[in-house]
Amino acid sequence: FPLQNNSIKTSKYNFFTFLPLNLFEQFQRIANAYFLFLLILQLIPQISSLAWFTTVVPLVLVLAVSGVKDAIDDFNRHKSDKHVNNRPVQVLINGMLKEQKWMNVQVGDIIKLENNNFVTADLLLLSSSEPHSLTYIETAELDGETNLKVKQALTVTAELGEDLQKLTEFNGEIRCEAPNNKLDKFTGTLTLRGEKYALDNEKMLLRGCTIRNTEWCFGLVIYAGPDTKLMQNSGKTTFKRTSIDRLMNVLVLVIFAFLALMCLILAIGNGIWEHDKGYYFQVYLPWAEGVNSASYSGFLMFWSYVIILNTVVPISLYVSVEIIRLGNSFYIDWDRKMYYPLNDTPAQARTTTLNEELGQIKYIFSDKTGTLTQNIMCFNKCSINGKSYGDVYDMSGQRIEINENTEKVDFSYNPLADPKFAFYDHSLVEAVKLNDIPTHRFFRLLSLCHTVMPEEKKEGNLVYQAQSPDEGALVTAARSFGFVFRARTPETITVVEMGETKIYKLLAILDFNNVRKRMSVIVRSPEGDLTLYCKGADTILYELLHPSCNLLKGETTEHLNEFAGEGLRTLVVAYKSLEEDYFQDWIRRHHEASTALEGREDKLSELYEEIEKDLMLLGATAIEDKLQDGVPQTIETLAKANIKIWVLTGDKQETAMNIGYSCNLLNDDMEDVFIIEGSTSDDVLNELRNARKKMKPDSFLDSDEINIQFEKPSKKQIIIPDEQANGVYGLVITGHSLAYALEGNLELELVRTACMCKVVICCRVTPLQKAQVVELVKKYKKAVTLAIGDGANDVSMIKTAHIGVGISGQEGMQAVLSSDFSFAQFRYLQRLLLVHGRWSYIRMCKFLKYFFYKNFAFTLVHFWYGFFSGFSAQTVYDEWFITLYNLVYTSLPVLGMSLFDQ
């Protein structure tokens, strides 16, 4: 494929192509094309019943309005393109740094970037001013996340340093994949002096990022211009259409049919009239030239009436609808009741075309963490070596409710402790102070096994930049208890353990992903011990434990269940000492695997599996995630509005159910809460059927409507009508069972059973499953769905649902970027749906009624007059009145009503 230079073009037109291209695009709209057709008809003198301007004026007005809007948009794009393309950058040419414009940068150029510069193209990081050639970047423009990320060059290129001579002589071959739009993946190899080095995303600086905290860095252009990941990502977004849109299209088609019918009646009428009366009236009014029979006259009259009655087809309908939607979107943006003052976030309607659909929501799919809860994590409890910490007991051994008056643990022995951190159980501090080995190991693990970035701007003023708030909470906890994570380089981690600074060598990071659900680090302590520290989800980690921990496992499980029962998020931590020989062998194979071009991921995960086994259990952590304000009330109100709420969460069943109870989703009024946790397809089927039998025994009879519908073989998509259960039920299904339930033949069972329940909670689900569940309901139910979430794992769900809502909260901006509406708190959903959605829908419906009414009232006069004027296409009104009726005289009252009606 041809290599691109770095100039980008986001504009659609240039000066010469604007008119033809823009007109071509506009005439693809059916209403515009129809008016063009009318214009052509009017140019035929025998047919023309109205002067040409009656269609030209509205058409030109509508075209001009959209055209001007497009032109302004494109002009702005031209301006920004020009601005971006002309940004200066330092390029290495013949051993000299020369200033070049961005657009002249070529693939293979080496460029120098300085602090706060925008990255010019997708670069391979060669070297930088920071130790170990680290480079900090901010990716706000790329994915909206504002925390710093660190990139590191290969050691072999880092040596090049600032030496222009060496950089000029740099002569390697890079093989990489074709340009694609995956922001978080890159595979390639660098061949330098016969040796191969693996390249991955850690060494890439992507266009759109900003260099931070780094004086300078050098990079080699790999993808330029349109090939960059940023540009590849700015593809066309799929349009979501509302049901009103579809209704409108149907209506317009019906109107066309109606128009044709009216014209046909009038044409036949004209034929008869000309035959009966017009023939004899020729004394005073001879037939037009070329007309020699009544039927031919009728044929011409058909087209004349097509022109006369054109006002029934609403040319300004689409434009008006856009205006109304835009207006109603602004109302959402402006609403103070959806403004969150704490982080200065107003609600935002990112898509302006979906407002009225908000009033039609029937199913809400909600994420839990960060959506229902605040996603501000605090380390609450832990279990270390079979002992549970975190609860406070009084003298008699009774547990005390923790409130503001409860005495906090005094961390004054540790000057680096986080002042905001609060813990109430003194026994844990005692254990730390007593140098209890498992306790120390526990906190050491927490301070080592993570991907948090520390920032220490002033001595002792540590700030952690964590990508996941859970990690931040754990590291903060370890810090307060005296295991302060102080600094990180790619190869070392500095920890202050009980006042003593220790530097651990970081040998490998076995990173976290949604399949593994765990992460590990392998470190060498200053004493020389090799240890693997691992933390992860209990289900996963329990299977990797050494058999000798079985006893401890039992105790820890008890604690875990207790924690989960209180709605806490739990993680299990474990460690393993490694043999030197084995590790050397493993790290060699790891290196091989990580330089492989093909199947790198698979090979790596195999290696990870191999080393992460026979782990020794240390304990478990429990993190509290508080509910957001007003969530229970909101859920209650939404439920009253007959909206069904499904919670899809990655949490454990107990945690999920607990949250369900605490936010009023599940309550004691429910007849029953079914739990589907079968581990085979048949189990799941049985459980689902039993649940359904209890809710609606009739639904298994052959006489049941839906069963009859299934019997009938039809190619058409089956739409399952709503079924009424005999009470209020809830359903909880685990991700494991969900996987079976989403398979072909169980889909229907799942939908029928789940949709009868008032509340459905799916726990332990993967992002993909979230999307599948939404897809399932979309497929079988004629209902509008809304997905709300805040994290990257909700993106697929948000994109799948009819309407996606992003919570702009703690977990970055990805959900917001792919959403249609965004705001800061879950409780605003109530106002969005029940106030804005309802108003938008009512207004839109009233608007359509009013609009069609006025057009019909206007046009039917001509139809009626046809009967009195010999079906001769004589108009009743003045031509200018016809021309401007839709556009000027009647547009304002209609628009006004549809924007201000309450």
């Binding site: 005073y284 001879p286 403004y339 309450q902």
Partner: protein, 351 residues
């Protein structure tokens, strides 16, 4: 003053808050009126509308009925002339017929004389278009490019003045009214001018400029169905000729329906007729020129007075009566439904 500085925001907070304005418009708190549909308001509005419409309708109908009107269909009474006119070779021969009628009572006040046509489609699109407004303004235009065809020029190229189907088909019967008083016939004095709209007479119609009217029309020919050229339409009044002739102007204002009447003459209230038309025997003396039998048309002559609501057209009054009745009836129906459902009202309250 010193204290105030401490309230100033620090630099970091200087950027404006993204909090939306608290204006009535943006917060959708503009005053709105939402009518509450109570039984009292609904019923009273129906009954009030009904009462209003019925009152107006009754007034209109009464006033329309008070109009004195005599309408005589003379297409059959002059059947000899009608047949005579069917033969187009007789176009330049005169044919007269007289129609007698008796007034039992005086018709007091202003009396208007109309001619009425039935089944004459003046509202046909091609008929309506077939005129040249520029020509009628006295401009020298090439009428080939107007919509006058086929009544624009003769074969030899002489343009018709005025051109077009409307002008060509101008109603050209002349109707005179005689009053028999003491066995002697007195011609009723009638006004030929002042029958058209002021704007038509003074703005929309103009004769071509020239030293006299016949030279102004030189180079043009009368339309084929006309017996006289345009500048000789009124032989008695020099100024009522050409395009500004009142009969012509009235005819050129096409009617919206196929059955219509046009104002022809007004009674000149002098001598015997100062109070209107006295009772007695009258005769219409008609010079029958306008053939209508081909297309089954009818011709009428009408004498009528006017009242404040116009002529004798009862339509508006009837429309008011009908809608008034409909509103009242609906009011009664709603009352009935209300009385019947009142006991079940709890159903609505429960919601």
């Amino acid at each position: 003053m010193k204290n105030k500085t401490s309230f100033l925001p620090r630099e970091g907070e200087a950027q404006p808050s993204r909090c939306p304005d608290n204006s009535a418009f943006k917060q959708q708190r503009l005053p709105a009126w939402k009518p509450q549909l109570t039984i009292a308001s609904v019923l009273s509005s129906f009954f009030l509308t009904g009462a209003f419409c019925l009152t107006v309708g009754v007034c209109l109908v009464l006033s329309a009925n008070s109009v004195r009107e005599i309408q005589i269909d003379y297409s059959d009474k002059c059947s000899d002339c009608s047949k005579f006119r069917e033969n187009s070779s007789n176009w330049n021969k005169e044919c007269h017929c007289s129609v007698n009628f008796t007034l039992k009572e005086d018709i007091l006040g202003d009396v208007f004389m109309y001619y009425g046509l039935q089944n004459f489609y003046q509202n046909h699109r091609r008929y309506v278009m077939s005129r040249s407004d520029a020509q009628l303004l006295g401009r020298n235009v090439n009428i080939q490019r107007s919509y006058c065809a086929p009544f624009s020029t003769y074969r030899n190229g002489t343009p018709m003045a005025p051109c077009g189907a409307i002008a060509n088909s101008m109603f050209n019967d002349t109707i005179d009214l005689f009053y028999s008083r003491n066995s002697s016939l007195i011609q009723v004095p009638l006004l030929r001018t002042g029958n058209s709209w002021w704007t038509d007479k003074n703005v929309k119609f103009r004769n071509p400029e020239s030293y006299n009217l016949s030279s102004a029309f030189a180079g043009t020919a009368r339309p084929p169905y006309w017996q006289k050229p345009a500048y000789l339409l009124d032989e008695e009044d020099e100024r009522n000729n050409g395009y500004v002739n009142d009969d012509f102007i009235v005819w050129m204002r096409v009617s919206a329906f196929a059955t219509f009447r046009n104002l022809y003459r007004r009674l000149r209230r002098v001598r015997h007729f100062a109070e209107g038309l006295p009772a007695g025997n009258y005769t219409f003396w008609i010079s029958y020129n306008f053939p209508v039998a081909r297309f089954k048309g009818r011709k009428h002559v009408i004498l009528s007075t006017v009242v404040w609501s116009g002529g004798s057209n009862p339509f508006l009054g009837i429309a008011y009566l009908v809608s008034g009745t409909a509103a009242t009836l609906t009011g009664f129906v709603i009352t009935g439904i209300h009385l019947k459902l009142r006991k079940k009202k709890t159903y609505f309250q429960r919601q």
